[in-house]
């Protein structure tokens, strides 16, 4: 069996709010058929940061216990989100509750503006970001592909800006590479593409745009084999990152041989030419 390293170390590490991550893949913990699959998929993904949601304790115990029964915050960094919030006030409330859990003061800020597309309310996101940054939170802000909004989120003090590739859970992949490249070109804080990745090549293409990382959940959780897809994503993110750093060949519409033209033998004497048939 062949062994190698994922060589993430050949690259500068990803640094967000002063914290270093060797893996550029961040994964969610939702929608798994069972916790054991989730744990194995996270392990296979190589992710060092996972997102979690803040919800009421189920007092009837019919539903599963809290996620921290399954994840060790010492081994994987916990990034609480404000998923499901539709106002700045609501998102701020969830962020404060998350911080009160005592793990860290990071938050993946999500303020949804539309139920059908789950696209963000950018004005409310900006408002919540300002409040939370003022309260000392490390804000990683989910946003759309708009560079104007992305720049304002950076100005507001966000630790990272997280534009989507396509709507949450859609699996449509990177629909607008121009906008994502532009956001990366213009911002100084890390750009993490969040949501929309459907399969490994989507993650690879996304990283080839030069962004700092990718966050995904459904693509892994809803794959037929989540653990295998998690491993695929790990490789895909590394592949895309390395390809970006390596600098791809130019595209051409004319073919160019890979073998030398010189050094060919003298052609067969006339009269041969089997290949002329057909």
């Amino acid at each position: 069996m062949t062994t190698t390293t994922l060589q993430e170390d050949r690259d500068d590490p990803l640094v967000i709010a002063g914290r270093t991550f060797r893996s550029r893949l961040i994964v969610g913990t939702g929608k798994y058929r069972d916790n054991e699959t989730m744990v194995r998929a996270i392990e296979a993904s190589g992710a060092e940061m996972v997102t979690v949601a803040v919800r009421r304790v189920d007092l009837d115990r019919t539903k599963e216990e809290g996620i921290l029964y399954h994840l060790d915050p010492e081994r994987v960094f916990i990034l609480p989100n404000t998923a499901g919030c539709y106002t700045a006030e609501e998102a701020v409330r969830y962020a404060r509750l998350a911080r009160a859990a005592g793990l860290n003061d990071w938050v993946k800020l999500e303020v949804i503006g539309d139920q059908r597309t789950l696209l963000p309310d950018v004005a409310a996101t900006l408002e919540a970001a300002r409040i939370l940054v003022a309260e000392g939170f490390k804000v990683l802000a989910y946003t759309n592909e708009d560079v104007v909004t992305a720049l304002r989120l950076e100005d507001a003090g966000c630790a990272a800006v997280m534009p989507l590739a396509s709507p949450i859970g859609s699996g449509l992949g990177l629909v607008n590479p121009y906008y994502i490249r532009e956001i990366k070109r213009r911002l100084s804080v890390p750009v993490i593409v969040d949501a929309g990745v459907g399969t490994a090549s989507d993650a690879c293409i996304t990283m080839e745009q030069g962004v700092d990382g990718v966050l995904m959940n459904t693509a892994i959780a809803e794959a037929r084999d989540p653990v295998a897809m998690a491993r695929a994503m790990r490789h895909a993110v590394v592949a895309g990152r390395l390809a970006y750093l390596a600098g791809r060949m130019p595209r051409r519409e004319v073919a160019v041989p890979s073998s030398p033209l010189e050094g060919m033998l003298d052609a067969a004497p006339a009269g041969g030419g089997a290949g002329r048939s057909a």
């Binding site: 913990t29 803040v54 009421r56 304790v57 996620i67 921290l68 989100n81 009160a100």
Partner: protein
């Protein structure tokens, strides 16, 4: 015995008068280290769970982390 009504995670619930939040968590079998308590819209620090009595009409939210993306 003497009960009061509160709202717990959105549901009306009767609890013993004078019960503290810490005692409520114990009664519910919840690990205080894995739960965050919002008491009448204010976050209640863990250090103050034992010293905080529950009053009639209080609104309590007990939250924790669950799987999410």
């Amino acid at each position: 015995m003497d009960n009061i009504e509160i709202t717990l995670n959105g549901e009306p619930r009767r609890v013993a008068r004078g019960l503290t939040v810490a005692e409520l968590l114990a009664e519910l079998g919840l690990n205080p280290g894995l739960v965050v308590v919002e008491h009448n819209r204010e976050i209640l620090e863990r250090a103050r769970l034992a010293e905080t009595p529950i009053a009639a009409g209080d609104v309590l939210e007990l939250v924790h982390f669950v799987g999410g993306g």
